[in-house]
Symmetry: C2
Subunit: 221 residues, 2 copies
DNA sequence: ATAATAGTGTCTATTAGACACTATTAA
DNA sequence: TTAATAGTGTCTAATAGACACTATTAT
């Protein structure tokens, strides 16, 4: 009755010069050996506490990255998605600042813009699409995009992140009102970001209570 | 490496006189035999196409009910949730009009208000809580609650459903504006609902395109 | 006619966006 | 000083809610 392959797959997203990108890894075993795919692996029933724990293990062992945000995405399952048999993939999505990936210096990790994906094995294309959709949706009404910037950031930087995710320009006054309403940021006193030949911007960071999970707005934008 | 129990559990929700309620079934086997629990069962890797297919099978075989809405909720997993070992439960939630459950006449199915749940086996209490939260959240900005009323309904009936789910009274004019904006309903010409000694209300039904999935609002409420 | 609830027109309050103005830096 | 971008005050537009009025039924 039961002969199900149980795996975890991670959609590690970041925002770089080429837009929203996903981390892909060359597969080191069959099936689809040597193809670029999502970082993933089997559930280790003897050592993993639960799916989230397995996701953290897979993410850090395959990429060396500790993401500030890691959340359950959805579960992809069925007889057709893996040639080895009926399988379940617990898909998680992680958000991480660009320089955390480049800085981790894992040479196998390739960042690929989500709108220029190569053909992916299994149903990984659908998993990535679901993750992107989830991130874009949550960007409408939460502070989730804050996990794509570094620990310290300015409001103009953050606004540009929101704008890329939402695919539209945002009103500066409204955006700042919404950030105030979200109430997840605190200014870092005295510090300013060095920009070009213009006024430097106030630096902010996430309030401690929101470093692991986003804050939510009543009304979006 | 793999010895994972793969199951499906269904949170079947409906709206009755006692408020939002969940369908529980007396377990017919160990563990927790004879305790009330969510309808669930093992994945049948030899016959189920995928998790959704397994959820439909479990729902109809255990309760005899075909729900107008069935969606993936989340996946609950880990070493501790099932005494038999490391397990994965693909949790789905289903919405169904009250009279579909009572009319199906499955005597084992007990409807229990979600705010007066008995102690439940496994992590079923957490699964139900997640489903209720999801439904309440989606009620803010989608037509999901429409799946809790019958095929034909009036706007005052639907508004009462939204009010129960959201736990607050809604402005009649605003509610109707939002329903118009959602654009998922069509009036059933000529028909009126028989009420008491007052003006009968126009009957509506879901537009065919929205009979399987809800419509969404830009701005909530 | 009266009571009861459905449905709508319209005014007011709240929220979002446009726009302009001041602030602060490098060159 | 100018150029460039940060940050804010304030007016206008859009949206949501309050309230009252008309509509339609049973008694």
């Amino acid at each position: 009755m039961n002969a199900v392959i149980c795996t975890v797959d991670i959609v590690l997203l970041t925002l770089g010069d080429e837009g929203l990108s996903v981390a892909l890894l060359k597969r080191d075993r069959q099936p689809f050996k040597d193809l670029a795919a999502l970082p993933g692996g089997f559930i280790h029933a003897d050592t993993d506490v639960d799916g989230f724990d397995a996701a953290m293990r897979v993410l850090s062992s395959k990429t060396g990255i500790h993401a500030p945000y890691l959340g359950q995405l959805a579960t992809f399952s069925g007889a057709a998605r893996d040639p080895r048999g009926w399988s379940v993939s617990l898909a998680y999505y992680a958000l991480v600042p660009f320089d955390v990936i480049t800085g981790a210096g894992h040479p196998d990790v390739k960042l690929v813009p989500v709108d220029r994906l190569p053909a992916l094995p299994f149903d990984h294309a659908a998993i990535v699409a679901t993750a992107v959709e989830r991130l874009r949706s949550k960007s409408q009404y939460s502070s989730l995009p804050c996990f794509l910037v570094g620990e310290l950031f300015t409001l103009p930087q953050l606004q540009r992140v929101y704008e890329v995710l939402m695919g539209e320009e945002l009103n500066k006054v409204s955006f700042r009102r919404k950030m105030t309403e979200l109430d997840v940021l605190e200014p870092v006193e005295g510090q300013m970001a060095a920009s070009g030949a213009s006024r430097p911007a106030q630096l902010y960071r996430l309030k401690p209570a929101f470093r692991d999970q986003p804050g939510l707005l009543k009304r979006g934008l």
